[in-house]
């Protein structure tokens, strides 16, 4: 009957504050677009063909016009005049007849320009940037989730039980924080020696839990003495249930803000790792591996791959940082 008696919860209030913040909503829209492109490219709807060599090598962006030095390459390759001494001529003719029989046409002529140019092999930069973004964003997101999950678990145990358990985890924390994170990441990379998306996720996730741990532990110390936890204790809730059934929903906003902050840091870290060659394996494209190629291309004056990867990353990271700041303000209005 009396609807006004229902007071809005933390999340409703936070969403209202966020909605009122125009910068935050714009940033959220940009982040949403990037996530959509990740979904589309992961499901194969977009950029699945990024490895097709659709243009001439280093085809410039359309708005620059075709590169006259490369124009000759755009013509389909003329078959060499028949050579009576060619020992393979009969074999090749047979192979080509076989291909034609399977319905494979001769390769399409290569484009002289593409909307945002092509790389060394004639891959479309736009598709490549979307595909690279998929790798970088997925690594950043999953690694951040792993790090925050670990930090939350350790922080909950540490803050809730206190005593010896707390001493143990605090000791762990002091060990991990006394080694600079980039050194820790490189050390683990040196030891694991296997390249792969899963490896980077593990490296970043296993070394990045200290920040969330410190905050979540402080929250649990604060919350465990509150009345609702005592009430849960009185009705016989187990420690596990008190920790994750009762307290966690009240501190989950801290975890969420940590995820959004770590995603930004981890995307940057993945780019650097892949650039150095300790990240994604050969054959997988990420923004870091694109920057690695672009470094050499720039000396030849082919700036478009660098601009595409750097620009896409800068836009995403700016939007994500602005959104993370707004999210923190919206969920924790006391801190301002």
């Amino acid at each position: 009957m009396n609807h006004s008696a229902v007071s809005p919860g933390l999340w409703t209030l936070a969403w209202r504050r966020l909605r009122a913040d125009r910068v935050a909503m714009a940033a959220l829209a940009v982040v949403g677009l990037f996530l959509l492109s990740v979904l589309l490219s992961a499901s194969g709807l977009v950029a699945a063909d990024w490895e097709d060599e659709v243009a001439v090598n280093y085809a410039p962006p359309t708005f620059l016009g075709p590169d006259p030095a490369l124009a000759a390459l755009a013509q389909p390759v003329q078959p060499a005049p028949p050579n009576a001494f060619d020992p393979l001529a009969a074999d090749i003719a047979a192979l080509q007849a076989g291909l034609a029989a399977q319905g494979r046409a001769a390769p399409a002529p290569k484009a002289a320009t593409l909307p945002f140019g092509a790389d060394k092999w004639g891959h479309d930069i736009v598709s490549k940037t979307i595909k690279g973004g998929q790798t970088s964003i997925v690594v950043g997101l999953v690694a951040a989730l792993v790090a925050v999950a670990l930090g939350t678990l350790f922080g909950a145990l540490s803050g809730f039980y206190g005593g010896r358990v707390d001493d143990l985890f605090t000791w762990f924390y002091s060990i991990f924080t006394s080694i600079p994170s980039i050194l820790m990441i490189l050390t683990v990379a040196a030891v694991l020696q296997t390249k792969g998306v899963l490896t980077i996720v593990l490296i970043l996730g296993l070394t990045g839990w200290t920040g969330p741990y410190r905050l979540i532990r402080a929250e649990y110390i604060k919350h465990k003495a509150r009345e609702y936890v005592m009430a849960a204790d009185a009705i016989g809730a187990s420690s596990w249930r008190k920790m994750f059934g009762h307290i966690f929903p009240n501190v989950s906003h801290v975890a969420l803000v940590q995820v959004s902050i770590l995603v930004v840091g981890f995307i940057k870290a993945e780019v650097i790792l892949s650039f150095l060659g300790f990240g994604v394996p050969v054959g997988t494209v990420s923004w870091g591996s694109m920057l690695n190629e672009a470094q050499n291309e720039l000396i030849l004056g082919k700036w478009w791959q660098l601009a595409a990867a750097a620009g896409a990353m800068a836009v995403l990271v700016t939007a994500f940082s602005l959104f993370a700041d707004a999210l923190r303000d919206a969920l924790d209005p006391k801190v301002k």
Binding site: W171, F172, S174, I175, S178, I179, P180, S181, I182, L183, M184, L186, T187, V188, A189, A190, V191, L192, Q193, V264, K268, V271, I272, F275, L276, G277, F278, W287, G288, L291, A294, Q295, L298, I299, L306, A310, M313, A314, V315, L316, V317, T318, S321, L322
Partner: protein, 324 residues
């Protein structure tokens, strides 16, 4: 109480330092065990790596014997601890150069870049943060903060690639890369562009952080009092606020110094500076475990010592801080 009887404990400063050093031991032991586990348990057997592609069983057995890998784990841990304490990690696997010599000779070039960079970054960061705090909440303040967020979102790789290409390769204002024999030549010729890039990259996050430190102080009672007694805004900010904001700034700068030693690895790699960071990258590329182990352990120790130094500096800056 009984501790007071001993002469060294009469000096509270010395007692504090000794106790802090004592408290570092468990953490340091943890670092040593962590590094040991990473390399001996997760890392697998390095003798296959060392023996090369055409290894036979005897060569591998011989290497295992030399590295002590045939010993039980506690003997191996003992070997590792002795290596740390005697600064003797043997020779690097890839080059055969003694690890202690690698660290000693790479420290100079790293510091040639890092010391000027840290001094400039801190000085410019403080000056800009105080200037921005003057006009807090204004359009200038907001624009500068947005510019910082955008500046921070561009990868450091892009700054290095573009600056090196533009300023060094195209315009020829700086050498593209290289390192000389003399300190003056290195500092003024080869280190200038890396320092400039380091400043560009680090100024945005530093300014954001220092601004928040300054603004935390700006709402304190003593600021109101200073204003009430008619001090100029300039004097309030540059004398009263700065003195108090110095504490978090000192923590940040001091605790960041050892991390910077590694953090400058991209600058060192791009510009061919033979520093510690570049050595770490090379060691990771070559799986040169002794070098990585040594650098990790010593950088961790340096981090702890610098945190202690930061706490000691506090007291020098702020007599209210009690060392306890």
């Amino acid at each position: 109480m009984r501790g007071r009887v001993h002469a060294p404990f009469d000096n509270p400063m010395l007692a504090y330092i000794l106790r802090r050093l004592w408290q570092m031991l468990p953490t340091m032991a943890g670092v040593v065990v962590l590094v040991f586990l990473l390399f001996n348990w997760v890392g697998g057997d390095p003798s296959y790596l060392l023996a090369g592609k055409m290894a036979d069983a005897r060569a591998i057995e011989n290497i295992r014997l030399q590295l002590g890998l045939d010993q039980p784990w506690y003997v191996q841990l003992g070997i590792f601890v002795r290596q740390i304490l005697t600064f003797d990690f043997g020779n690097a696997w890839a080059t055969g150069e003694p690890v202690s010599h690698i660290i000693a000779s790479r420290l100079g070039p790293s510091l040639t870049v890092l010391v000027p960079l840290t001094i400039l970054e801190t000085a410019i960061g403080i000056a800009l943060a105080l200037a921005i705090a003057f006009v807090r909440g204004s359009l200038t303040d907001r624009l500068v903060m947005v510019a910082c967020t955008v500046g921070m979102s561009v990868s450091i790789l892009v700054y290095i690639i573009v600056f090196q290409y533009g300023l060094a390769y195209k315009l020829g204002l700086f050498p593209v890369q290289g390192w000389g024999e003399h300190f003056g030549e290195n500092l003024l010729r080869y280190a200038t562009l890396p320092i400039l890039i380091g400043l560009t990259v680090s100024l945005a996050p530093t300014l954001r952080l220092f601004r928040s430190f300054v603004l935390d102080e700006a709402s304190q009672d003593y600021v109101r009092t200073a204003r009430a007694k008619g001090l100029s805004e300039r004097r309030i900010v540059w004398v009263h606020v700065l003195r108090n904001a110095a504490i978090p700034i000192i923590t940040y700068v001091m605790s960041n110094l050892p991390a910077l030693l590694i953090g400058a690895f991209l600058l060192e790699r791009f510009f061919g500076i033979p520093g510690i960071g570049r050595e770490v990258i090379l060691a990771v590329e070559r799986s040169d475990f002794p070098v990585i182990k040594a650098i990790t352990v010593y950088v961790a120790a340096a981090t702890m010592v610098f945190n202690l130094l930061a706490d000691l500096l506090y007291q020098a800056v702020d007599p209210r801080v009690q060392l306890s």
